[in-house]
């Protein structure tokens, strides 16, 4: 049975009075309401990318390259890139100077002991406390070095004290062990 007919028969059984009433819709809407509602809603729900399709001309490779370059050389982007390059250069320079000191140690390790000692004697100013701690001179060599390079009025002690102050507790512990 059709739903409409079934519903009417059901109502007649429950309430003949209500079944006999006019079901005419008595609510009204303003003129063109539903058409306008559609447009209003479209403004609210239309995603930007899904708005009315617009014909886009196909780009040539030259125009694409031109666009790319224009994008890359925008002032803000160019400034960011310049800052990044500067940081990278500074970082490379810093690492290079660190590597330089490591180079000293690397150079030192490739020398024979005597040559290492001579090198150290000539360039000891370039060695900081950490590097000194890595050198493996015996006591005789150290005494000889001190005697030849420092006066007897405690100059070496002053230098040693300065070097020791550069060391942190872990490095000092490593030296003493």
């Amino acid at each position: 049975m059709e739903p409409k007919k079934e519903i009417q028969e059901e109502l007649e059984q429950i309430s003949p009075f209500l079944a006999g009433l006019d079901k005419t819709q008595n609510f009204k809407v303003p003129v063109n309401y539903f058409e306008e509602m559609q447009e209003d809603l479209w403004q609210k729900v239309a995603p930007e990318s899904k708005s009315a399709p617009v014909a886009v001309p196909k780009k040539t490779w030259l125009s694409q390259l031109d666009e790319l370059l224009a994008n890359w050389f925008q002032p803000r982007l160019a400034l960011s890139l310049a800052s990044l390059l500067l940081l990278l250069t500074a970082g490379w320079y810093f690492m290079s100077s660190v590597d330089g000191s490591e180079e000293l140690v690397a150079v030192e390790s490739s020398l024979l002991d005597d040559e290492a000692y001579d090198y150290f004697a000539q360039n000891f100013d370039e060695f900081d406390a950490e590097l000194l701690s890595q050198l493996d001179f015996d006591d005789e060599e150290i005494d000889a070095f001190v005697e030849s390079n420092f006066s007897g009025d405690g100059e070496f002690d002053v230098l040693l004290e300065d070097l020791l102050q550069e060391l942190d507790i872990d490095e000092l512990e490593g030296l003493l062990l």
Binding site: K23, Q25, N26
Partner: protein, 188 residues
């Protein structure tokens, strides 16, 4: 011959809405197929056109924002009806809290409003019917409207309201009896 909006199936509408190039077509197809049904469903719950307009707008904004999450477990119109019904109930609850009026007061209030409403042109009996409906419990009124005015089957109503058919039959039966009783009381 181009198919009319009513010829477009719900599956076709959903397919159109999935693709960027056909999204607007899908939007318009859905609106033309369901906007009036949903509007009247809401209007019968909230009575005033301005209120119905607010609720239907909120409903469709929600629909289009979440259409991509619609999994098709229920029929499209069931899902739409459910959102519309919930939005109308939320609106009515908010309004009820503000007014703090009783159901009886609500009935008089509705009657007065409808009499003054430009967008209601019913006669005395229709006005009385709306007044009788306004004093029904909310859910009972919704069931009555969907069965009596929208001529939906109990199965369809059950899918929208997520209630059993048996409970709906009982609810509708009681609603009809209450309305009949209200008319007899007024006449006497």
């Amino acid at each position: 011959m181009q198919p009319t909006v009513n010829d477009i199936s719900d599956d076709q509408i959903l397919s159109l809405l999935k693709e960027e190039h056909s999204y607007e077509r899908g939007f318009r197809a859905l609106m033309q197929k369901y906007q009036e049904r949903l509007y009247w469903h809401i209007r019968r719950m909230v009575y005033e056109h301005d209120d119905a307009n607010d609720v239907i707008q909120n409903t469709f904004v929600k629909v289009f924002k979440s259409i991509h999450r619609f999994e098709g477990k229920s029929k499209l119109y069931t899902w739409l009806y459910r959102i519309a019904t919930n939005e109308a109930i939320t609106f009515l609850n908010r309004k009820q809290k503000k007014s703090m009026s009783s159901l009886d007061d609500e009935g008089s209030h509705v009657s007065e409003k409808l009499q003054a409403d430009t967008y209601f042109d019913g006669d005395e009996i229709q006005l009385r019917l709306q007044k009788a409906l306004s004093v029904l419990p909310e859910k009972q009124r919704i069931v009555f409207n969907m069965r009596y005015y929208e001529e939906m089957t109990y199965k369809e109503i059950a899918e929208v309201l997520e209630t059993s058919v048996g409970a709906l039959k009982a609810s509708y039966h009681h609603a009809v009896k209450k309305i009949e009783h209200y008319f007899r009381e007024v006449e006497s």
